[in-house]
């Protein structure tokens, strides 16, 4: 398989579900909640590929199912249906959703990195910054404190955190620095795939710009594939090659980011773009 990631028919519902859930939800109904049984169809019928070194954007209004989708990719949530193939795992021949929890944990630790909007989810704020990075390395069986600290220094340098802060706790860091520590941790084991969910949402505009710069630079230098999730088209425009637009849990449009920006097909996409000032 040429593509690094293949997603097929992924869906996630919250609730017991009924025969009509899928039919009665989605963009044409303007809702993700089944009117018959009240089940939330957070996302459904999602399929896409990501190529090596490519940055894929997922954009959509709040509640459109973006976070749910990336959570299923990082195994934070089990999908209700779907297949997920990774080139770096058995040459992309096995649906990794079907693996044992032990194997999934291996993939999560070695082949993926995740950066959450809320640093609480990605970091232990009362462990040192270095300890947070160490955790990811320890999961990959590193057993030499000196080596771990060297690697942590390397990563902190790359993400522009002064290495004097390595033994300080992220709870004393600014929001921008916390995101940088999260990025360091996510990159610790050189994963081929990095997932970023609203990483700059909530940061000051100037801080946002520098974190986005950092992400762009990492993409260029490491040739890592990334999935960047944001409700903000300006973030998507800055970072991504290709974009998926989501509404009410479904994909409404996908294509090259530049083309979508220039000539959006769906009225909803137009709205998202027009809301950029």
């Amino acid at each position: 398989m040429d593509n690094r990631v293949s997603i097929r028919n992924v869906s996630k519902i919250y609730g017991k579900g009924c025969d009509s859930c899928i039919e009665l939800t989605g963009p044409e109904h303007g809702r993700n909640r089944c009117p018959k049984c009240g089940t939330i169809v957070a996302c459904a019928d999602i399929g896409f590929d990501v190529y090596p070194g490519e940055v894929l954007g997922i954009v959509g209004e709040s509640g459109s199912g973006k976070s749910t989708l990336v959570k299923t990719l990082y195994f934070d949530e089990a999908p209700t249906t779907g297949e997920f193939y990774l080139q770096d795992f058995e040459e992309g021949l096995s649906n990794v959703y079907g693996l044992s929890s032990l194997q999934k944990r291996y993939i999560r630790n070695h082949l993926m990195g995740m950066v959450y909007q809320n640093p609480h989810l990605g970091l232990r704020l009362d462990y040192s910054a270095g300890g947070n990075i160490a955790e990811k390395l320890l999961m990959a069986d590193w057993n030499h404190v000196g080596d771990i600290r060297e690697r942590a220094k390397e990563l902190l340098t790359k993400t522009e955190i002064p290495i004097e802060r390595m033994d300080d706790k992220p709870k004393y860091f600014s929001g921008g620095m916390q995101q940088r520590v999260q990025i360091s941790k996510a990159l610790a084991n050189n994963p081929p795939l990095l997932l970023l969910d609203e990483v700059t949402t909530g940061l000051d505009v100037s801080v946002q710009a520098s974190v986005l710069d950092l992400i762009r630079q990492i993409g260029r230098e490491l040739g890592i594939s990334m999935i960047v999730v944001s409700h903000d088209f300006s973030v998507i425009r800055m970072l991504t090659n290709r974009t998926i637009v989501m509404k009410n849990g479904r994909i409404v449009e996908q294509g090259l980011t530049d083309q979508i920006m220039e000539d959006p097909q769906h009225a909803y996409t137009q709205l998202l773009i027009n809301s950029l000032i």
Binding site: R105, Y127, S128, G131, A134, K136, N143, H144, V145
Partner: protein, 289 residues
């Protein structure tokens, strides 16, 4: 003795305990839940170890009970009296003579054999408790061998203190699978658990768990390549018997304020003193010799 069943517990309870113990032996380091009974001693005073001991002891056994190495503490005496009276076994303070030893927080200095069983009293069986408050999440972590959080805890210790500062309840990897709590024995005793000839049983009464380290099992303390596990060492030997190869405890002379070190294993210390006086005494070999 008509008031109680033999061995205090009723036969059904003993059978359940034995089944749980067998399961524990079959899965080294895995904590098996059991239906802990009310015992005539307060919880937290060794009720877990007590129930394990009572379920396996029988006529012909010889019992030793120690509390932090001492045969004479009130707690050790109470437990020994209770067990010996209800199960009609002889008691001893000599490690070599005992077939069953129940212990709180020590492993005797003399190496135990495959004809002996050591039963540990365990206050807090869950080694992950310090890093994970949830019982359910701890169980998942054990099942998936997801121990990175424990490792980070050790890493943070080293960053802050330049060493791993765990003195008791030192985490050990059992049989290459489960990490478990060897009970609050000192680090000094931890290497004795590795590839021993003796069956080690652990009973936690309050938390209702039994676990085991069967004979000839790998027991490896967690350590880093550049921060290897080490045991306590002392600048001088035992004040009473002169031993320099035993686990020593501190005591302060209340008059002079002077600090003394003496063997925590009182039975062993007594033997060494007799030997020093050239009296006939049989002393077993140490665990690594």
């Amino acid at each position: 003795m008509s008031m109680y069943n033999y061995g205090f517990l009723d036969e059904n309870t003993k059978r359940e305990l034995r089944r749980k113990t067998l399961k524990a032996v079959a899965i080294p380091g895995y904590q098996v839940p059991f239906g802990s009974r009310e015992m005539p001693v307060a919880r937290g005073w060794g009720t877990g170890g007590l129930q394990v001991t009572l379920s396996l002891i029988g006529l012909g056994d010889v019992l030793k009970v120690i509390d932090q190495g001492s045969d004479d503490s009130v707690n050790a005496c109470n437990l020994r009296d209770l067990i010996s009276e209800t199960s009609e076994v002889d008691t001893t303070t000599d490690t070599l003579e005992a077939t069953v030893i129940q212990t709180r927080h020590r492993i005797p200095e003399e190496k135990m054999t495959d004809e002996q069983i050591l039963v540990f009293q365990v206050p807090t069986p869950e080694i992950l408790r310090t890093v994970e408050p949830s019982e359910q999440e701890s169980r998942r972590m054990h099942a998936e061998r997801d121990y990175s959080r424990l490792w980070v805890h050790l890493y943070e210790d080293i960053v802050e203190w330049k060493e791993i500062r765990i003195s008791y309840d030192y985490p050990v990897l059992v049989n290459g699978h489960y990490i478990c709590d060897p009970s609050p024995i000192p680090r000094f005793d931890v290497p004795k658990l590795h590839q021993a000839e003796t069956l080690f049983l652990f009973g936690a009464g309050r938390e209702k768990r039994i676990y085991a380290i069967p004979p000839h099992t790998d027991v490896i303390p967690l350590q880093f390549e550049d921060y290897p596990f080490n045991v306590e060492s002392y600048e001088s030997g035992c004040e009473k018997c002169g031993s320099t190869h035993t686990y020593l405890e501190e005591s302060f002379d209340s008059n002079t304020g002077e600090r003394y070190l003496y063997c925590s294993d009182t039975s062993y210390c007594g033997k060494q003193q007799l030997k020093g006086q050239h009296q006939p005494v049989e002393i077993g070999v140490g665990w690594n010799g």
